[in-house]
């Protein structure tokens, strides 16, 4: 028996040796292939297959090792039994592994919380976001308490009550008092979280459009965002998708006087501590306007305009200081699958002081561009009857 195992291990060793040799060969080959820039494709192909072969061998080797270890264990077990002892006690072995896994796992969770937990979003940069963050940390504390207790009990029980022939389980089919307690306590805790969450949610979403709010239209299409600010009148002109032309991609209705002074912008610039209402539109498929630093998200749905109202509280410059990251930018990006370019559909958001905002907005170009003026004029001239509808020939 022992001899056979030895044979097996020896064979495994020689395999390892052969394999390492091959591995270095492959690596060397790749190294040389990389130097001449225009390596011919057949050489690349063979390199590729060599690489594949390398990994296949690696896996085979792992399988062989597992098989060998399995054999050794079996032999050891049998030899124990031949000596009249009990075989290996797997209940004990697994019980101990359970405790090790618990301890390693708890450490891993701790590590993950400290290292990866420090890579998450910074504090909220909006007024309502503070409430959300408070809610989040409350929920985290409560649930992590439950998490650690239940997982610890689970793995400790496994170790403590690992099986043995000398014992029997404890016949304990139910206990109504305990069961009532652990139904009612989660119910109470969840009620608290629900009530708390409900009011937070209502205060975030149940908003009125007040005078003095800045209304901004953000329109999503594959794969970009269009931003439109109101002009001096503070009002945005109406849109109608039927009015779309390449020069008027938002389909702004210029029958509406409010639209004349609307502005087109490239960046979403917001004055700090002013209420902003973003009106969200989509032209083709569903997108989602996501500005995680402000705890803002709302889908952009074709045919169903949505909005999100919030107040930014920290300027970009301020946030750069706080994070000690001079390149930091707030971002707006798409968070609903919308096609092949979904992964790159972003805009920079900049929060500035009121004064900076005024100078910035004064420099923005009107949406009613010269080509668009010409186009509207042409439409007027060529189709006097239809001119009133502000439609161009294309739509009819």
């Amino acid at each position: 028996m022992g001899f056979k195992t030895f044979m097996n291990t020896k064979r495994a060793f020689s395999l390892v040796a052969a394999f390492l040799l091959l591995g270095t060969n492959v690596l060397m080959a790749q190294g040389t292939a990389a130097t001449p820039a225009a390596a011919d494709s057949s050489a690349q192909k063979s390199d590729m297959w060599l690489g594949v072969g390398y990994y296949v061998l690696l896996v085979l080797l792992a399988c062989v090792i597992v098989a060998v270890v399995g054999k050794i264990l079996r032999v050891y077990d049998l030899s124990l039994q031949m000596q009249g002892k009990k075989g290996m006690n797997w209940n004990n072995i697994i019980g101990v592994i359970c405790i090790i896994v618990l301890i390693a796992g708890l450490y891993g969770v701790y590590w993950s919380f400290t290292v990866q937990g420090s890579m998450i979003l910074p504090e909220s940069a909006s007024a309502h976001g503070g409430k959300i963050d408070f809610m989040f940390w409350t929920t985290t504390v409560i649930t992590m308490f439950v998490f650690f207790i239940t997982q610890t009990l689970l793995w400790v029980f496994l170790f403590k009550y690992r099986g043995s022939d000398k014992r029997k389980g404890y016949y304990y089919p139910h206990n109504n008092t305990i069961e009532k307690i652990w139904t009612i306590i989660p119910a109470i805790v969840l009620t608290i979280l629900v009530v708390f969450g409900f009011f937070t949610w209502r205060s975030v979403t149940n908003t009125d459009n007040l005078k003095g709010d800045i209304n901004i239209d953000v329109t999503a299409h594959q794969f970009a965002w269009e931003i439109r600010y109101p002009g001096k009148d503070g009002k945005l002109g109406q849109v109608n998708y039927q009015l779309y032309t390449p020069n008027n991609i938002l389909g702004v209705n210029f029958k509406d006087r409010n639209s004349f002074d609307d502005l087109k912008a490239d960046t979403l610039v917001l004055p700090v501590n002013r209420e902003v209402r973003i009106n969200i539109h989509a032209q083709d498929v569903i997108h989602s306007l996501y500005m995680p630093h402000f705890r803002v998200q709302m889908n952009a749905v074709p045919g169903l305009p949505t909005f999100f109202k919030f107040t930014p509280t920290i300027t970009t410059a301020d946030m750069r200081n706080r994070l000690d990251d001079p390149k930091f930018e707030y971002l707006l990006y798409c968070n609903k699958i919308c096609g092949g370019g979904h992964y790159n559909m972003q805009k920079v958001v900049r929060v500035v002081s009121e004064a900076e905002y005024e100078t910035w907005i004064a420099r923005q170009k009107p949406y009613l561009s010269d080509p668009l003026k010409k186009e509207l004029h042409l439409a007027d001239a060529s189709e006097p009857g239809k001119a009133a509808e502000n439609k161009i020939a294309l739509n009819n």
Binding site: G70, L121, T143, V146, L154, F157, Y172, F328, E329, Q346
Partner: protein, 628 residues
Amino acid sequence: MSTLAVHDHGVAGHDHDHEHHHHDTFITKYVFSQDHKMIAKQFLITGITMAVIAMLLSILFRIQLAYPDKSFPLLETLLGRFAPGGRLDPQFYLSLVTIHGTIMVFFVLTAGLSGTFSNLLIPLQVGARDMASPFINMLSYWFFFIASVIMLSSFFIQKGPAGGGWTIYPPLSALPKAMNGSELGMTLWLISMVCFIASSLMGGINYVSTVLNMRTKGMDLWKMPLTVWAFFLTAILGVLSFPVLVAGVVLLIFDRSFGTSFYLSDIILNGKIMPYEGGSPILFQHLFWFLGHPEVYIVIMPAMGISSEVIAVNSRKPIFGYHAMVYSLIGITVLSFIVWGHHMFVTGMNPFLGGVFMITTLIIAVPSAVKTFNWLATLWRGNIRFTAAMLFAIGMVSFFISGGITGIFLGNAALDINLHDTYFVVAHFHLVMGSAAIFGMLAGVYHWFPKMFGRLMDQKLGYLHFWLTFICAYLVFFPMHFMGLDGVPRRYYAMTEFPAFNHWLSVNTFITWSAIIAGFAQIAFLYNFIHSIFWGKKTTQNPWDANTLEWTAPVEHIHGNWPGEIPTVYRWPYDYSKPGHDTDFIQQTTPLSETMSSNLPHDFEDNPAGLQQYNEWAKTQRSSEEVK
């Protein structure tokens, strides 16, 4: 009474079979079989095949996330136009994600899980000769098979498979020109799903009617094992919710192919104004999630049932709080119909409605918590035997705790604003579905393998499989929570366009390697599974010393499950380690009269005559002790 009538009929039919000695041909035995045990095996093997395919797909796209800038010539060799220059095409990436999700949720965890274990265990555990309708049962498998073939065939068409995510929200899925994955691939996806739903309805109706009508003598509802309860309630959920998805899918087919506007309005695509008017994309989301949420419980409840049974058997203890376990399953079943809106908090649905859905969602966490505590209490002071099945059932509990907890965050509308559609959601549903439910399924495979194939799987390889998979699953999904908290969105082909996400690249690489190792760990399972089917150690009739009825049936599979009469049931299935009995288990078929020394007054709750006898017996016992 009707129970008895059906039961008698079953016996008669069986005798009839014996007289004729009818011979199965290869076709009727292995292909178009109507025997529930064979159909269960067909579901299992198809399910495992689909799972392996879906796992390979996930490794493909994980490689893309780990090495977004590297090119792999091998990928071009394998995938051709889908990976030009050895790098995945962004649209094909989305197709991979979509098909991975669809296969895992529907084909593996719905059909593979319920199909296998409901088919195998319902007749064997309630004491029936077969399903209520073996023929419909056979159709159910073949519709599932056709659905699988259609789903996979979409890899071989010009533009590739469906790509809009497993939730296929229109307008993206309704406009063929919106992406490659919305062309023919999406049509195939929809056809495949219609076949799939037909399959799952036929299965579900069968499971419900078998449980209701064909229980053996003595098997009242409160004597059914928790597995049967779970399969039964799962089937009810499926039967009530899947038709709604068909409605949604059919309307989507109309929008795609016949120019209707159920889901479409105000659309300009590629500079062209489309003629659709008056539809609502939100309508589809309501229809989808009316199935979609119950679907996640269709996935998890069988896993809960299996784990409950496996944990009780291997702790050598009755499941703690049997009634509470059943009532919480019922509670989950009912509540799961009124929480679907929690997937739609930020879709523009009326925010007040969002508030209501948040309340119902957090209520459903209560029965889930009760179940967890009851499992823990079952382990407490048990005599725990670590079979491979037991380990997987324990893994299921651990994952269910971890994943359930993050559900409390997502169910809170205020928190969901920032978490929706990020990697936090990915972490949540992979722990609870991708890990907990899969582990429940694997526990079932290890536990009932002897019943299916008459042989035992190797336990040591099972241990190896368990520990590798368990640890890697946590390594893969745990860090994803933090990515979500950093605002990293799901369904992104690459994070490289965002300098702010650069610090996640090394984490992504780590996750991918963990996933690859987890993938290789499955070799241990596949080898064990296939090897044991042919060369495994022969099993005894009741290898785990379990109480339920299936272990009273002979190891060899026979038509009708039991030779002679179907056994009668006298007690609940969890009499493990009952004090006063010589062995640590008492099968359901053992009458109370044979176990006088271990009976409890509680055993005679609705049996006054029995209680009187028991009291008399106890009195004589006592007096004879006094004499001594």
